[in-house]
């Protein structure tokens, strides 16, 4: 018996199949969720994958946030359901106010795709427990709206509460404030980040690293041991 992880497909989602594969590789059962779904099919956790949902029109994540399925995700997240937002999924989570702050266009104004070094700052969340705090990992980064911003007070709060989950190393790729690559909510069940752990789970493809697998094994341990 393993745990079931829902992977949401919005119109314009791109990394849904990749994320399902990563979930499967970690030994979890992926469950496909459609943006119009009005229930979460009893999944134990939800991942919002990357892409350009609704073409990023209006603002990245701004329209998806109003999808029927998001009502249930928001409800669940508040009750402790583990939720991971990757790239566009992170943008949807900030638009949904499950996580604070917002993403603006990269400071250099270009799409950037590269292998990105990160430091795991918080290894106590539902999605990072398989890492060590301070561990350095490399996973692909690929976006054009990846510059994390929030007001100073929010940033100070995030720092003080240990809610900065990941920080960029070896050069800030997009001008994100305080080198923030990913954050968590106070309860540690909702995590969002711009880089793509689902693209770093097999040695054969992508960058050849498997540094991203820890996200999926973390949630496996949490759900199966729970």
């Amino acid at each position: 018996m393993t745990a079931r992880v829902g992977v949401i497909t919005f119109p314009g989602t791109l990394d849904d199949r990749d994320t399902q594969r990563a979930v499967r590789i970690a030994g979890l059962e992926p469950v496909s969720l459609w943006h119009r779904d009005k229930d979460l099919k009893q999944v134990d956790a939800v991942i919002l994958p990357g892409g350009f949902s609704y073409g990023d029109y209006l603002r990245a994540g701004a329209i998806s946030r109003f999808s029927p399925v998001m009502e249930k995700v928001i409800e669940g997240a508040r009750e402790g359901l583990p939720v991971l937002g990757i790239c566009n999924g992170f943008q949807v989570l900030t638009e949904s106010h499950l996580l604070p702050g917002a993403m603006l266009r990269n400071n250099h104004l270009h799409f950037i795709c590269r292998d990105q070094k990160l430091r795991v700052e918080n290894a106590d969340t539902a999605w990072t427990s398989d890492y060590e705090a301070g561990q350095e990992i490399s996973v692909p980064l690929k976006n054009i709206d990846g510059r994390y911003v929030a007001d100073e007070r929010t940033l100070d709060e995030l720092e003080a509460e240990g809610r900065v989950a990941f920080r960029y190393l070896d050069g800030n790729p997009n001008g994100s404030l305080r080198d923030i690559a990913g954050i968590t909510n106070a309860a540690g069940n909702v995590v969002g980040l711009m880089p793509h752990p689902e693209h770093a789970v097999e040695p054969l493809v992508g960058t050849g690293r498997t540094d991203g697998l820890g996200f999926f094994t973390s949630i496996l341990k949490k759900l199966v041991n729970a």
């Binding site: 119109p11 314009g12 791109l14 990394d15 199949r17 990749d18 594969r21 990563a22 892409g51 350009f52 609704y54 073409g55 990023d56 029109y57 250099h108 270009h110 799409f111 950037i112 795709c113 590269r114 692909p140 690929k142 054009i144 793509h196 689902e198 693209h199 789970v201 097999e202 054969l204 493809v205 992508g206 960058t207």
Partner: protein, 749 residues
Amino acid sequence: MSLDTVKHAGETPDAAQPWAELGLKPDEYARIHEILGRRPTGAELAMYSVMWSEHCSYKSSKVHLRQFGEKAPENEALLVGIGENAGVVDVGQGYAVTFKVESHNHPSYIEPYQGAATGIGGIVRDILAMGARPVAVMDPLRFGAADHPDTKRVLPGVVAGIGGYGNCLGLPNIGGEVVFDACYQGNPLVNALCVGVMKHEDIHLAKASGAGNKVILYGARTGGDGIGGVSVLASETFDSTGPAKRPAVQVGDPFQEKLLIECTLEIFREDLVDGIQDLGGAGLSCATSELASAGSGGMRVELDTVPLRDSSLSPEEILMSESQERMCAVVEPGKVARFMEICEKWDVIATVIGEVTDGERLEIFWHGEQIVDVPPRTVAHEGPVYERPYARPEWQDALQADDAARLPRPATDDELREQVLKVVSSPNQASKSWITDQYDRFVQGNSVLTQPEDSGMVRIDENTNLGVAVATDGNGRYTKLDPYAGAQLALAESYRNVAATGARPLAISNCLNFGSPEDPAVMWQFAEATRGLADGCLELGTPVTGGNVSLYNQTGETAIHPTPVVAVLGVIDDVNRRTPMAFSEEGHLLYLLGDTKEELGGSAWSQVVHDHLGGLPPAVDLEREKLLAEILIAASRDGMVDAAHDLSDGGLIQALAESCLRGGKGARIVVPDGLDPFVFLFSESAGRAVVAVPRSEELRFGDMCGARGLPAARIGVVDGEVIDIQGHFELPLAELRAAHEATIPALLA
């Protein structure tokens, strides 16, 4: 504004028509009269004019392109050949792969972002229409001089357009080329390639048959964008109160295309279509006439049912509109409801616009009145064919006589070192990562090798690790010097690049970029290049599966270098066996495979150091290319090499620099006895590669090369952090990297 119906056309035989403004020649207009037995209606004239354009009819190139079929090698892997939206190749395990390279040159010069973006959109729909899921794209690009101010306008726009559209579709961009040359200043070449994968039974064709089957237009609404000639028609034939002339460049919406892809794949999964065609150049005119022509011939379309973005569009404009992100499907009546449900799920607009009839005419109606009544084959497949005059230009002899051997060479080792740095950091040889980092190469999670590797490689089956590799190459400088050899060198390089990664080359697609066919010198280049390519494909056993011709790439009297771009598709049974280009293990032995002759004509060295183009390109030996490929593939399969890199422009030193930088390791290199170090480093002799062999495999690898008769010279070892050309000069990797990587950002960022 009166409607020019078929009846009206019959009653007004002498009405003046703007056929010349639409680009038709007097004899072509006369032929339309002859086919129809009357003057064409405005709508018919519009259809014939776009479908008989050079772009759609291949009227200047057709007589030469026939060789690709006539000389096609026997190849059981070819499932669908030239003539469909894209060719299809059997890659084993029940999988079929379709791929094609196309041009979007002219639009990209006018409006770089949208031109390049819709170039991706168009080729992706071609692949989708075959029944395949698109799995990767590549972009062979050519721009004017790197330091020309207009390049800074065109290149960033093109790159952003490719990224902006391709990244939103979720297609990894796995390779391609970026070349700078002043000859492309007013005519950048923006070619785009897409690869798609399906099971054999999923192959779909563009044909409409089965009377009573419904014709469904789905995807974006039709707007006034991308109308070229028709705006002329509208303003000439009718009063001027209609819509203003629209930009000739289409505007893309990648989000709509992504929905169209997923929606279409779901429709295929449920086996709901009989025939399918994407809407690209010439829009509905093309889709309806080609579907009908390839099927049983009869189709009736109610044009007023087409969903519009602009309700004031005339029927002619609707027929000609090149609005993006549209497809046309032929569906049995019983399956229409389910088809519509799937479109609704994906928020894709779908409309029954007509049906297949048991007649042999394409009939189009506008609010009940007939405006088109034509035999579809005469529109789609039986356009004019020209035997354009061609002649070897009188300057060709002088060009070839201007041998690069006369150019001054470095006199000292210091000068040699200086020229090496100059070449590897020149815009054409420098790192292109500033460009390729703007493309998503990871999406779909199957990218095994991506730029700057010799070929892009994707896994197509997660359980068996079956994969395909694609490389694109072209060298306008070589082709200018000798079009026959230049085309074969492009083929040979692409073939070699695929083999270098361990994949077996199967088939090719090509994009033939040339100047004006009305210039006999250009036509000669075209004739020679197609002949060279067809002969080369026959010898290598790799059939042409399709492609595209782009003519009129010239500014005034000056044509671009003739630039055939060749894409080779290969298959690899297990992507675990792929060979990367990086020298990553110290102690591995470096072997130079093939013969190095003194061949500098058209070389990167002659361009960078002397701004020279003359002489002859490197000699072509396709037998040798086959042997080299066999060795590279066997070495990959049996784990005898750790890295391999093809030698092409820039010669050995370029390959060493790239492989060392990629792996972060240096190399100690010994110049073989009897070889001039300058020639050793810079010659561009074809049929060569450099490989890194683990010591444990040295004997086996050497024996294999010896037994097969492939020259293999041990030239050094992977070592340290310096490229040491022993006895001549040393180049620290840090210095090399700084030079190699700084050039493009400095020019363009």
